[in-house]
Every structure is written in C-alpha cells, then in structure tokens.
Symmetry: C2
Subunit: 132 residues, 2 copies
C-alpha cells in the first residue's frame, strides 16, 4: 500500500484538479485552471507536480508532457508505470497488469545494469477511434 502523505495546499489543489479531470493534463493548462485559486506562476505548478510524481500520486506521460492521476491505488508504482495512449483521441489509461509488471520488474539483460524503474507507453487506436 501507498504511504499516505499529507498534501500541502497547492499540491492538493493541483492533485484534485488532475484527478477530477479523469485524463492527462498539461502544466500550463493546470496553471490556467488554478489561477482563480491563487496559484499564479508556472513554478508553483511544477513544484507541486514534481512532488506528486515523487510520491506516486500522479505520473508523467513523457511522450505528451502531461500528467495523469495514478489509477492504481495499490502500488510501488511510480517506479513501474505502463500506459496505453490512443493516437487519435489522445485518451490515456494506466495499464495495470500484474504479469506485465512482473515481467518488466524482473527484466535484466547482459549490460550489467540493475534497473530500478521503468516507464512503458503503448500507442494505438482505442476501441472508439478504431471503429470510425
């Protein structure tokens, strides 16, 4: 189980926004949405995002420069993330598949490198977009 953190004021505002949005959000779109709550500067957003990523409440979708709330309540999962991304509608969901995560967490090759973390992004067309 995830350790419970007490989010600070800005962290909570920003986490709630991302969480309620149900999808990935970009930093400046977050900024725009929280300005009425007194968060005025990019740095305030990025600081909260950094912390939220660090504690695993959100993940960064690297290929999209966007942030999504963790949908995986039970996890070591900021160190082991997988997403599916629709290239048409840009819908993103977190993949939680224990076989996949076991396979990747245990992956090792002959490089002598010990992997402590991974991020996997799958791309394709979601059900809806496929049938258009």
């Amino acid at each position: 189980m995830q350790k419970e953190y007490n989010l600070s004021k800005n962290q909570k505002i920003i986490f709630d926004l991302i969480d309620k949005s149900g999808g990935p959000m970009k930093a400046y779109s977050i900024l725009f949405n929280v300005q009425k709550k007194g968060i005025k500067a990019p740095l305030q957003v990025y600081r909260a995002l950094d912390k939220l990523v660090e504690i695993g409440k959100i993940h960064k979708i690297e290929s999209r420069n966007a942030f999504i709330a963790c949908q995986n309540s039970s996890c070591q999962i900021s160190k082991a993330t997988a997403f599916s991304i629709c290239e048409s509608c840009e819908n993103v969901s977190e993949i939680s598949n224990s076989k996949l995560s076991k396979y990747l967490s245990n992956f090792s090759d002959n490089s002598g490198m010990k992997y402590s973390k991974y991020n996997l992004e799958f791309f394709g067309l979601c059900k809806k977009c496929k049938s258009k």
Copy 2:
C-alpha cells in the same frame, strides 16, 4: 531489413552528427553543432529529426528530450523501442532483446485496444556508476 532511404542534405548532416556522437543529443545542441554547416534555425533541425525518427534512423528518448541513432540495424523498430538509461551518467543504450520485443509486441489487455507501437525506458545505474 530496413528500407534504405536517401537522406536529404540536412538529414544527412544531422544523422551523421548524432550517429558519431554515440549517445543521445538534444535538439539545440545539434543546432549549435551544425551551424557551421549552414543549418541556422531550430526548425531545420526539428524537421530533419522528425523525418529521421519517422524512418527509424534515430529514436527520441522521451524522458530526456533527446535523440539517439538507432543501434539496431535489422528492424521494424521505430515501432518497438526499448532503452536503458543510467540516472547518474545519463548514458543511454538501446536494448535489443528479442524475447522482450516479442513479449511487448504481442501484449494485449482487455481494453479492446490494438497496440501498434510502444516505447519502453528502463532507469537505473550502469555498471560504472554502481561501483562508485
């Protein structure tokens, strides 16, 4: 085997630079390095990068906003990429492991989504950095 493309002038200059560097390069560092060859504007770099990514001669390391030459001469591999990244020295190498690529290319879940592409980034400490 990869289809052979005739690279254009700018594409060739930029590919050669990245390839010779042996590691990931960032767009503006590329720009700096090719200015003496007459490539003056970011857009010229990004256009060549886009094309080189498209044809699989280079890959983008999403978590680093950097580009690396494909080290995998035989492949369908711009659609199936995996990298190991040292979080200390930032060394990056392309993983070519047929079991891994088979496993991921065949991966499917219950989302109804057909995956046509993936990108996987492993993080950790490389041999050298581990022993420091």
